[in-house]
């Protein structure tokens, strides 16, 4: 127990907003994101992530948004388990044909108003995989997409920036 408490004390708070910043841009983006979410979404934005055929690197970077450096929950962004709870679907991957029906069903299950954000070069335009017998390519080939965050994979900062540009429109 002593070990644990002293480790907590020594690791301190690494969350980037409130200390001298290694990434000032993230801090600025986070503050802007929070302002928009507070004003337009009563303080919270619920996101459902759907991997529709990704290589999994996009997922790793989306998941990194929860680590203590980014900790996007403090801006009011949270990831939910069910599309029923979601305002936004973050979709990754060139949509594999085997995931097409599941993606459409997830979209159907998400209440209006809802946005679809295509995450990563694959979701934006097919990426390395493109359109083929097993892949529908871009998410836009399957669903109406409201915003695109390119990158292979996009960094967590790219993701915060992309979300901000979507919701402040």
């Amino acid at each position: 127990m002593n070990n644990l408490l002293s480790k907590i004390a020594r690791a301190g708070i690494v969350t980037e907003t409130f200390k001298p910043l290694t990434d000032p841009e993230l801090d600025r983006l986070g503050a802007e994101l929070k302002a928009v979410i507070d004003g337009r979404f009563a303080g919270s934005l619920a996101i459902r992530q759907v991997d529709a055929g990704s290589c999994n690197a996009c997922e790793l970077e989306i998941a990194a948004l929860g680590n203590p450096f980014y900790d996007v929950e403090r801006y009011g962004v949270h990831f939910v388990a069910s599309p029923r709870h979601a305002d936004v679907l973050l979709v990754t991957g060139p949509v594999s044909r085997h995931m097409q029906a599941a993606l459409l069903a997830t979209w159907e299950a998400t209440p209006e108003p809802k946005w679809v954000v295509a995450i990563g070069t694959c979701a934006a335009g097919g990426g390395e995989f493109g359109v083929n017998y097993a892949s529908c390519g871009a998410v836009g080939n399957v669903l109406r997409v409201d915003a695109v965050i390119p990158g292979c994979p996009p960094t967590p900062t790219d993701l915060v920036r992309g979300l901000l540009s979507l919701i402040s429109r």
């Binding site: 644990l4 991997d51 990704s54 290589c55 690197a57 790793l60 203590p68 594999s96 085997h98 390395e128």
Partner: protein, 540 residues
């Protein structure tokens, strides 16, 4: 490239010699004295086998304690070439059979190697080859994206296929079922609750206790093998780095190694040391991620935050020094595409020492966390027998005391100069898998220190030379999940005719079905995370 026999190598060849001798005694006409002249593919001795002896060869190999390491088919002109890679004590043997035009059946090797079951179904779905005597006639990677009589890897099948506007959801798959008032059937996926890849799990449970688990994968099949055809080496390496995004270095290295062996291109020393630096950095990042996630699945939020903090710092260093957080596209044919900058030479030893110190501090906290220990010790026990039957790899095998590690057993440069010892445990539970990874983290930090000490100035990349038609190569690399085996064959224009990457997950996914038995359904995420199979790398 053919194997060179030296006195030192003599002993290593003894095992394969015994196997080839045994296979010769099967009386396979194509085999006989030709074997020694059949040559080698990468480090594997080539062993031609007649199609009718395909199962007999497997039986002989299984009796000798060989591991079935990979299987794939290759449509060449009118005939099919089918390969099965075997391993014993770090020696590899490639069984190969050629089917005459018009023949499309081959005896199944699954009765002798249970781990071959899904790979053979994969070949059947993509190539239309029947494996007679296969115990499972259900399709595997094929859902509904292409027809029952369409086979995407055949030369006459266009890359674009003939897909419908909307591909129907998978249906009619014959899941195992159980009847009785006590048994509940629980379907999960393909869309899961977390930020995770898609797949489907079908549980049969009595109360909370799991009686049976059946996996249904293939949801992220995106045609990687077909897409590779006609690519140049550079773009194949890019694709390989995306077979499984968390193994960008491992898969790209295996693909490049295969291409380099086919083309006779030797990467320069500095390129090899840098590949090891990237591969070990990838191993560290993923183990940190998974240890944190295992903590999270036991509601030990402290652990999750500490390990995800350490991982983030590590990835930021990757970006700063090598230009990409996950090191994608840094391993290229002939060498590497990123150098070790001065900044990294001076800062990396400090970062390594810091991480080592933090890990030393965190270890006793995990050990003392009684609630945490309660969840991980004794959960998801995998019997060693199953590891041997399925040919499990990486930390899944090593947590059951089986030290499979390419870096130790069949070391390629630069690991051959480092004398690596596989980290093992014997309990086979979630805790053992976690502590094997903990040991590997520390071992990787030592390897990184050594790489930094031994790397010399020099070129990063050798010039590429197109290999002759049908030149082939086999890449074998210890990715962070275990052995990656990648096969490449070139066409006559320096482009790729066949690419087959085999992720270690192929043999670890079936182990999850076994280790969950008798555990409670709510422990599934924890057990699953401790194995952490790749969906993308499996589905291809």
């Amino acid at each position: 490239m053919s194997a060179i026999r030296t006195a030192v190598n003599e002993e290593r060849f003894a095992v394969t010699d015994r196997l080839t001798g045994r296979l010769q005694s099967l009386g396979t006409p194509e085999f006989g004295n030709e074997t020694s002249r059949a040559g080698a593919v990468g480090p594997a001795l080539l062993c031609p086998v007649g199609p009718d002896d395909w199962a007999l060869a497997a039986e002989a190999a299984a009796a000798q304690g060989c591991r079935w390491a990979a299987g794939w088919g290759d449509a060449q002109g009118e005939s099919w070439v089918v390969n099965a890679l075997l391993e014993k004590s770090g020696d590899y043997l490639l069984l190969r059979t050629v089917l005459p035009p018009g023949r499309n059946d081959l005896p199944s090797q699954t009765p002798h190697f249970p781990g071959a079951a899904r790979p053979e179904r994969h070949v059947r779905d993509l190539l239309g080859l029947d494996f007679t005597g296969h115990p499972d006639d259900r399709r595997w990677v094929r859902h509904q994206a292409w027809g029952e009589r369409e086979f995407p890897l055949r030369p006459d099948f266009p890359l674009a296929g003939h897909p419908p506007a909307v591909t129907a959801p998978d249906r009619g798959y014959g899941f195992a079922s159980a009847h009785g008032p006590e048994v509940n059937e629980i379907p999960v996926g393909p869309v899961h609750a977390g930020i995770i890849e898609p797949g489907h799990f079908r549980f049969l449970a009595v109360g909370e206790t799991v009686l049976n688990l059946e996996e249904r994968l293939g949801y992220v099949h995106k045609g990687i093998e077909k897409l590779a055809e006609g690519r140049d080496p550079e773009s194949l390496a890019r694709l390989a780095g995306r077979v499984s995004g968390d193994t960008a270095v491992g898969h790209a290295w295996a693909a490049c190694q295969a291409m380099e062996r086919a083309a006779g291109v030797e990467p320069p020393e500095r390129g090899l040391w840098l590949r090891a630096v990237f591969a070990e950095r990838e191993r560290v990042a993923n183990h940190l991620n998974d240890i944190g996630a295992i903590c999270n699945d036991t509601a030990f939020a402290f652990g999750y935050y500490q390990f995800s903090r350490l991982r983030e710092l590590w990835l930021r260093d990757n970006l700063r020094w090598f230009g990409h957080r996950l090191l994608m596209d840094r391993v290229v044919p002939g060498g590497v595409a990123a150098d070790l900058p001065e900044e990294a030479i001076s800062a990396m030893p400090g970062a390594i020492a810091t991480l080592r110190r933090e890990l030393d501090e965190l270890k006793p906290i995990l050990d003392e966390g009684t609630i945490f220990q309660d969840r991980v010790v004794g959960a998801g026990v995998l019997p060693e027998r199953i590891v041997r039957e399925l040919g499990c790899l990486g930390y899944v095998a090593r947590a059951c005391g089986i030290g499979r590690d390419v870096r130790e057993r069949a070391p390629h440069a630069p690991y051959d100069r480092l004398g690596i010892k596989a980290v093992t445990r014997s309990d086979g539970d979630v805790a053992a898998r976690l502590y094997v990874r903990y040991g590997e983290l520390l071992a990787s930090l030592d390897i990184l220190d050594q790489c930094l000490r031994r790397i010399e100035p020099g070129p990063l990349r050798a010039a590429w030379r197109d290999p002759p038609e049908n030149a082939e190569g086999l890449g074998l690399v210890e990715g962070w999940r275990g052995e990656i085996a990648t096969y490449v064959r070139f066409d006559g224009t320096g482009r790729i005719a066949r690419f087959f990457p085999r992720d270690p997950s192929v043999f670890n996914w079936p182990a999850l079905e076994k280790l969950i038995l008798g555990n409670i359904v709510p422990d599934f995420p924890l057990c699953n995370k401790s194995v952490n199979g790749s969906y993308s790398g499996h589905d291809l």
